[in-house]
């Protein structure tokens, strides 16, 4: 039996239970008990039905380990008369006192247990750190590498699919439009297209250009080689070379697959967003998204600039006066305030004209070959005066 004086050497820290005791005759959930630490050992006080029962355990009888779900309990084990007893301590103050008071024989196993607990904590934090690191890298990779991913994805889509995609949208769009099916305007556009397309090496596309009656000064391209030119553009162009410039630009939207890039980017966002939000119906909306994408098909500024430069080179190769394209942008810039409708994603026309002028200056002198049609007659066939106001 251990003398009672042990307990008197340290102040009584608390009177409510501060540990759980497990043993064969105890309930499996453990019995709350009050542990007090003295200079020679522990005193464990159990209270049941108002009766206090206590057990004194010398430090020498204890074996020490770490337990609990997160290795955050100090586990003390000793053999008692009723069999093996386990004490689970979590109270930080109690554990500190134990560490301070425990004799050297207990000190070493205590420090070993503490290092097990620390190691478990570090490993847990380390796993989280690695997980967050991977997540961050993934997000950063997607953020910075999304263009590359889009380019890779676009590259894998066969031209045949692109044609089918484009054609479906093209037919639907044209069904609601008033088309110019024949006449000088159509043959002029066909001649321009033929001269430009002839200059494209290894052309996988069969370009189809349609003239649509509309006052809108614009033209647009759909994936797969489908191009629409509005009569408004032709009525406002002072010469055929200006229209050819716009055509060259649109042809390069097709060749560089800008439409597909936009679709893949948009789809990527929708898919990513629906995964993040967990909205299964997001996928159902994808097909709708397709049609919306086609109708409102707009390119970003970088794509516009690339199409401008490549279009200029195409004009040059086709021996069509590239100044027409530049002049057209200059005239557009004079109207940037709004009379001519031009999509907002297009770079400001003045900047475009300047960039093209600089590009052209670096190219050798060109002797243009004129078109076979009379532009004034084409304009007249569309109901515009023979010459556009400058």
């Amino acid at each position: 039996m251990i003398p009672h004086e042990w307990r008197e050497t340290l102040p009584r820290m608390s009177s409510s239970p501060n540990a759980l005791c497990f043993g064969h005759e105890f309930p499996t959930s453990g019995v709350p008990c009050l542990v007090q630490i003295g200079l020679q050992g522990l005193t464990v006080v159990f209270t049941s039905d108002g009766q206090e029962q206590q057990e004194d355990i010398p430090f020498t009888a204890l074996s020490i380990s770490v337990g609990g779900l997160d290795h955050d309990h100090l586990v003390l084990k000793w053999p008692s008369k009723q069999g093996e007893r386990l004490l689970y301590l979590k109270d930080a103050e109690l554990i500190r006192t134990f560490r301070r008071v425990a004799p050297p024989s207990v000190h070493i196993p205590f420090e070993q247990a503490a290092s097990v607990a620390r190691l478990a904590r570090w490993r847990r934090m380390g796993a989280w750190g690695v997980a967050f690191g991977i997540l961050l890298t993934g997000v950063a990779g997607l953020w910075w590498g999304s263009d590359l991913l889009v380019a890779l994805a676009v590259e894998r889509i066969p031209v045949e699919w692109e044609r089918k995609l484009g054609e479906a949208a093209y037919r639907e769009l044209l069904a609601r439009q008033d088309l110019v099916k024949e006449g000088p305007a159509v043959s002029a556009i066909q001649e321009m297209t033929r001269r430009l397309v002839e200059q494209i090496p290894h052309n996988p596309y069969k370009f189809e250009v349609t003239v649509v009656k509309s006052d809108v000064v614009n033209a647009f391209a759909l994936p797969g080689g489908y191009i629409v030119v509005f009569t408004g553009l032709m009525q406002n162009a002072a010469c055929a070379e200006e229209v050819a410039g716009v055509l060259g630009h649109e042809i390069h939207h097709v060749l560089q697959r800008h439409g597909l890039e936009r679709i893949v980017k948009r789809l990527g966002l929708v898919v990513a967003a629906s995964i993040l939000v967990g909205d299964q119906r997001g996928f159902a909306g994808l097909m709708k998204q397709f049609s919306v994408e086609f109708v409102g098909l707009t390119f970003d500024r970088e794509q516009e600039t690339r199409a401008d430069i490549a279009g200029l080179h195409l004009l040059y190769d086709a021996k069509i006066d590239p100044f027409g394209m530049i002049r057209f942008f200059e005239r557009l810039s004079a109207n940037d305030e709004g009379r001519m409708e031009w999509l907002s994603t297009h770079p400001m026309s003045r900047g475009r004209a300047e960039r093209l002028t600089a590009e052209l200056a670096a190219m050798p002198q060109l002797t243009p070959v004129p078109f076979t049609f009379d532009w004034a007659a084409v304009r007249e066939s569309l109901g515009a005066p023979p010459s556009a106001e400058p």
């Binding site: 497990f22 499996t28 609990g68």
Partner: protein, 227 residues
């Protein structure tokens, strides 16, 4: 507070009698009925950030409701959302329970609730998400399950294996590791178990007799798909 489980089984109610001035906390939306002396307040347990982290991390409700017998003694009826049993645990101030996020129904005001980050592996494949509730303090804690609640008693170093989606609550003195159900990867998944948790005593583990995720997957096949 004095609590009693009415209609034990799949669709139980808890009746809690409060003396004047006494209050309890409950999952928001858990109240079914109450005496006119009871006031219902919503409270962000653990302050705004605590509530926010609980909401974002464990998916638990942002607000708990506080039911206070402010105008004299009265009673409150509480019920969980899902069909299943209710168990009342008496917390002694020392014992702590880990409770998966849907397991908490109500508790005495002196019951302490915090959300706790699990280890990465447990969070990823343990089936209760990355964060669980750690509930300690003193007084009655009322937990609910999907299906019946089964109690497993573990002596020191005794082990027991539980399917990861059937866990409800377990005492903090138990520890568990996650492992494959069978020795091979293919067998683990073709056996339909995938991962299991190997619990090790001492302590108590409460499991639920039905798997909410499995039930959801089963019922989904009967739901007509719109669009």
């Amino acid at each position: 507070m004095r609590s009693e489980i009415l209609y034990p089984g799949a669709f139980p109610l808890v009746k809690i009698e409060l003396s004047a001035g006494e209050q309890i906390k409950a999952e928001s939306g858990a109240m079914v009925g109450a005496s006119p002396t009871i006031d219902v307040e919503s409270k962000m347990e653990g302050g705004f950030l605590g509530a926010l982290s609980r909401k974002l991390l464990t998916g638990e409700k942002f607000f708990f409701q506080t039911l206070r017998a402010s105008r004299g003694p009265g009673e409150v009826l509480l019920a969980p959302t899902v069909p299943g049993e209710i168990v009342i645990l008496e917390l002694d101030g020392v014992t702590e329970y880990m409770v998966q996020k849907d397991g908490f129904l109500a508790g005495a005001d002196s019951v302490r609730i915090e959300s706790k980050m699990q280890s990465f592996a447990r969070g990823l494949i343990g089936g209760e998400g990355f964060f669980i509730l750690k509930i300690g303090g003193k007084g009655p804690l009322i937990i609910n399950s999907f299906g019946a609640i089964h109690r497993i008693d573990l002596k020191p170093d005794q082990e027991y294996i539980v399917d990861n989606s059937h866990m409800v609550a377990w005492s903090a003195t138990t520890s568990y590791t996650i492992e494959r159900a069978s020795s091979g990867w293919v067998a683990s998944f073709t056996s339909g178990e995938g991962f299991v948790c190997r619990f090790r005593g001492p302590g108590v583990v409460y499991i639920q007799s039905r798997n909410p995720g499995g039930f959801g997957a089963w019922i989904r096949q009967f739901i007509p798909v719109s669009e």
